[in-house]
């Protein structure tokens, strides 16, 4: 129905909606806010990975009557952070399952006194044996979670894998590992909470999903819907890191607010944020692949295991997305993916841009280059022979019914990067140069929106209303944290209504004001929520045509006049729409079979790297990113998403290592957790092929997560091309490069006498 041949505002580089506020320093982040009589809160955390709490003692030199102290005993509702599985306490009660687990909360009017007091709480434990790795957890001794340490498992099966091995001309095996990764949003986690008997709990915070926090607060305080209110403040980066953790922090601050009778601000400093909040799940992926003599895939057997940390949080859904992205954009008749997420006594891992896909894509795309090497095929040619095409079915036997052009994306990436010429040139030059250069690529996809029936369960409601001042206001619970929600949804509304960008405003992301249009995650905002706004706007026009004499077509002035007439006659004017699944959607949650995602974004990325064999540093010198994300709604914001995601992907591959010792992060500072700087990020060349998706907002598919999936395998493939050495684990730091290159150094034969 929406072909959108020409648009005025969608597709145009309009200024970021909240851009001026951010540029003049006026945008109000939570730490910029103060409330009358506000106190500060702090958290006493576990210093051991697993054990029973024997005693809690308070240093007598501190006047504790000046402080508010909250323990699990002060929780009025259930001591659980409501998310998916009810296993994570809001405050540890009698036992701890990971270092930094919150045990006790303190509040005081002076934040400096608070810091001193933290050291005055002495907790003694009876330690229990901890589990720190996937390997330790899968031994199931000790059991640290549930009956078997298993947070979640999936089995995805297609065709007949077992009979394929005997028919195969080639069988290639490999094991790939990815490390934890910190979001490193520049604004740390923070909230302010207030409590009153009349209004209940109000929380302002840096967060992605107001209604997740709302649900968690209701459980912890045992309060009805009208006694909980969550308001997102300007949010300084999130990347998934503010999907689940803000629920914990909001509950803590609200407990302190209730007991102290004061508004309480809790803003973590960087060290606490790094040590105590979620990170990307570490993963181990084992591939066994059967191919025929022409290099066509016959079967894939994949064992995908993630470290989930001490509580289930989002591990099940992260594992689901990892499972569904583990087989790559390839046609393969027989597939078996066994996926498991294991509990360990580490800080729970959580959502991070890509949500399991970067781990799975790293393994698949590194493995493709190993297959190519084993078969003596060019990595490009191997991929081309196996690409999915429209009309094929993927691993869940989802019919690829939308147009897709992986070959064209690949061609464009090769051409823009001058891939073949550069590869040959580097091969010639490398022999006599201590700096070895190479080219690597990755082909991949990212499913947009919630998995399977997820969007149906979310049942999102979104829309627009018209204010007394005649502005159209977008009503969504989807939040802006840099990615452009405000701008893109405003564009969609202005476009659909035939009015100007400046005629549309965003309602405050406040659960008292906006309906639940679902969380701001899973690359769903432009596609799913955008489509809801588009539909709500068309519905509003229909209403005005019917009840306020609006003609078709209409001018901006006619539309605004019709709104005023309607409001004068009928009062409030609004239009809300609920999610409707595109027709023909079938998904079996048990068998992992059917339409896994409403749409897929497709991409081919190419990295050029230089490996210095004197210093053992690897540097990305140039990067090309070709993708199809449906219609591009805003060219500048879209390119910004791709570039930013690639920079994070480069960090994931080469710089960012979470160092743990006895279950605690030891490099929890920006000084030694290293992200790419302005000097490290290469020129990134971004290209979009645009194929509008019928069911997305003005043709959009998901974009936000895609760019994090491809860089790491492309970079390590390029390092293989440069050095001839296959590296299978990230992050690949200089010491790892040294170890790998040294192990492959040809042993020099002693000269014969």
């Amino acid at each position: 129905m929406n072909t959108h041949a020409t648009t005025r505002i969608v597709g145009a580089p309009v200024p970021r909606k909240e851009g001026v506020d951010k540029l003049v320093g006026r945008a109000c982040y939570v730490d910029d806010m103060e409330r009358e009589g506000m106190w500060y809160g702090a958290t006493v955390r576990s210093t051991i990975p697993r054990g029973l709490i024997r005693s809690i003692a308070f240093d007598r030199r501190i006047d504790w009557s000046q402080f508010t102290v909250v323990t699990a005993a002060d929780i009025p509702g259930e001591n659980i952070i409501q998310l998916i599985i009810a296993d994570q306490p809001c405050l540890a009660d009698g036992k701890v399952n990971h270092c930094e687990e919150p045990i006790l909360l303190l509040a005081h009017p002076d934040k400096h006194k608070l810091r001193e007091a933290l050291g005055g709480v002495k907790i003694e434990y009876d330690p229990l044996p901890p589990v720190f790795t996937i390997e330790e957890s899968e031994r199931q001794d000790p059991i640290v979670w549930g009956a078997d340490n298993l947070l979640k498992s999936f089995l995805l099966e297609k065709g007949d894998v077992d009979s394929a091995w005997s028919r195969a001309a080639h069988i290639v095996e490999g094991e790939y590992r990815t490390g934890a990764q910190e979001h490193l949003y520049i604004e740390n986690q923070g909230v302010i909470a207030e409590y009153s008997a009349e209004d209940g709990v109000t929380v302002w915070g840096s967060l992605q999903c107001p209604y997740y926090v709302f649900k968690a607060l209701r459980g912890v305080f045992d309060l009805p819907e009208d006694k909980v209110r969550v308001i997102q403040t300007e949010t300084g980066g999130a990347f998934g890191g503010k999907e689940d953790y803000p629920s914990v922090l909001a509950c803590h601050a609200a407990l302190l607010a209730k007991k102290s009778g004061h508004p309480v601000k809790m803003v973590y400093d960087r060290m606490e944020d790094l040590a105590a909040t979620t990170k990307r799940h570490p993963a181990r992926v084992r591939h066994r692949t059967a191919l025929d003599k022409d290099g066509k895939l016959l079967a894939m057997e994949i064992h995908l295991d993630t470290d989930g940390g001490a509580y289930a949080t989002l591990s099940s859904t992260v594992l689901s997305r990892a499972t569904l992205h583990s087989t790559g954009p390839y046609l393969c008749p027989s597939v078996r993916v066994r996926a498991r997420s294991w509990a360990t006594n580490l800080v729970p891992y959580g959502a991070f841009r890509g949500f399991g896909a970067p781990q799975a894509v790293f393994a698949m795309e590194r493995h493709m280059d190993e297959i190519a090497a084993a078969l003596g095929l060019d990595p490009v040619e191997l991929r081309r022979r196996n690409f999915l095409h429209q009309g094929d079915t993927n691993a869940t036997e989802q019919l690829m019914r939308e147009p897709m052009f992986l070959d064209q994306l690949l061609d464009r990436a090769l051409q823009e990067s001058d891939y073949h010429a550069k590869r040959s040139q580097f091969a010639r030059e490398n022999a006599r140069n201590p700096i070895k250069r190479g080219m690597g690529l990755a082909a991949f996809y990212h499913g947009s929106g919630f998995t399977g029936s997820g969007e149906v369960y979310l049942n999102s409601l979104a829309g627009v209303d018209v204010t007394p001042q005649g502005k159209v206001r977008v009503l969504v619970s989807n939040t802006e944290f840099g990615q452009g929600t405000n701008t893109v949804l405003t564009q969609i509304a202005a476009e659909a209504l035939g009015i100007e960008y400046s005629d549309v405003i965003m309602a405050a992301p406040d659960t008292d004001m906006v309906p639940n249009s679902g969380p701001t995650v899973a690359s769903r905002t432009s596609m799913v929520v955008g489509r809801l706004i588009e539909r709500a706007c068309l519905q509003l026009i229909a209403l005005l045509c019917e009840r306020a004499g609006l003609g078709a077509p209409h001018t901006r002035e006619e539309f605004l006049a019709a709104c005023a007439r309607y409001r004068a006659a009928h009062g409030e004017l609004s239009s809300l729409c609920r999610y409707e699944a595109p027709p023909g959607i079938y998904w079996d949650d048990q068998k992992y079979h059917g339409e896994a995602y409403g749409a897929y974004a497709w991409a081919v990325y190419v990295a050029q790297v230089a490996v210095d064999t004197v210093t053992y540093s690897a540097e990305v010198e140039n990067f090309w990113a070709v993708q199809e994300v449906g219609r591009v709604l805003h060219p500048v914001l879209a390119a910004g998403q791709i570039e930013g995601g690639i920079a994070q992907g480069i960090g994931y591959a080469l710089y960012e290592k979470v160092v743990l010792a006895d279950g605690r992060m030891t490099n929890n500072q920006m000084t030694n957790y290293i992200m790419p700087t302005a000097e490290d990020v290469p020129p990134i060349h971004v290209y979009f092929e645009q194929i509008p998706f019928r069911h997305g907002g003005y043709g959009a598919k998901g974009i936000g997560e895609l760019p994090h999936d491809g860089p790491a395998p492309a970079i390590l493939n390029a390092i293989r091309d440069a050095t001839g050495v296959s590296f299978t684990a990230i992050p690949l730091l200089p010491e790892n490069l040294y170890a790998g290159l040294a192990a492959h150094q040809p042993v020099e034969e002693p000269a014969l006498p």
């Binding site: 580089p13 200024p15 970021r16 909240e18 851009g19 001026v20 506020d21 951010k22 540029l23 003049v24 320093g25 006026r26 945008a27 109000c28 982040y29 730490d31 910029d32 979001h183 490193l184 949003y185 520049i186 604004e187 740390n188 300007e234 949010t235 300084g236 980066g237 999130a238 990347f239 400093d269 960087r270 944290f481 840099g482 990615q483 452009g484 500048v636 914001l637 390119a639 910004g640 570039e643 930013g644 995601g645 690639i646 920079a647 994070q648 500072q669 920006m670 000084t671 992200m675 790419p676 700087t677 302005a678 000097e679 990020v681 020129p683 990134i684």
Partner: protein, 182 residues
């Protein structure tokens, strides 16, 4: 705040005087209080942000006596007599600074939390290299971390602002032009 621009009088501490965005200010605060906290808490200039508190991220960058400093690492006593410029001092009379215009147009700001510091670093760079090369831009911004953009659009924004400033002489208040090697 009283008529003399004094934010808070606390007899315990001697006054420390400096100018911020061209205005004389005086604070009576512990002399080791971080300039960052004085700006944010005592002067209510919350545009300057804290990201790490240890001088790594550059979010708290301000210009002080024509140097770019991490205000989280400056005890306020070091600011005695100094001329300080924060992000709030970039736009003049409600008109955006060419850098702000360029960031808006080129997508230089996403989540916005590094933006004030990034703008101050860029302003410092352009004050000394009005026509910076890409390498100079990268070096000039190397102390400021941005997790959203991958920096590409920030580089473009700074380059665009340099071009814009060329066609229209800068209107920003002139700071003392003594160059301190960084």
């Amino acid at each position: 705040m009283n008529a003399n621009g004094e934010a808070r009088t606390d007899a315990l501490w001697p006054a420390i005087r400096f100018t911020v965005n061209g205005e004389s200010r005086s604070v009576n605060v512990p002399p080791m209080k971080r300039l960052l906290d004085v700006l944010r808490e005592d002067l209510h200039l919350t545009g300057t942000k804290e990201g790490c508190g240890e001088g790594e991220c550059g979010s708290c960058s301000v210009r002080m006596n024509d140097e770019l400093v991490n205000s989280c690492l400056v005890p306020v006593l070091q600011a005695e007599g100094a001329e300080i410029q924060t992000v709030e001092g970039l736009a003049l009379d409600g008109e955006l600074h060419p850098l702000q215009e360029a960031f808006l147009e080129n997508g230089g700001a996403q989540c916005g939390i590094c933006t004030p510091g990034m703008l101050m670093a860029a302003a410092q760079l352009l004050a000394h290299s009005p026509h910076p090369s890409e390498a100079e831009i990268r070096e000039g911004l190397a102390g400021n971390l941005c997790r959203c953009t991958g920096f590409a659009r920030i580089f473009e924004s700074v380059a665009a602002a340099a071009v814009a400033a060329e066609s229209e002489p800068a209107k920003e208040p002139v700071m003392e032009q003594t160059y301190h090697a960084r």
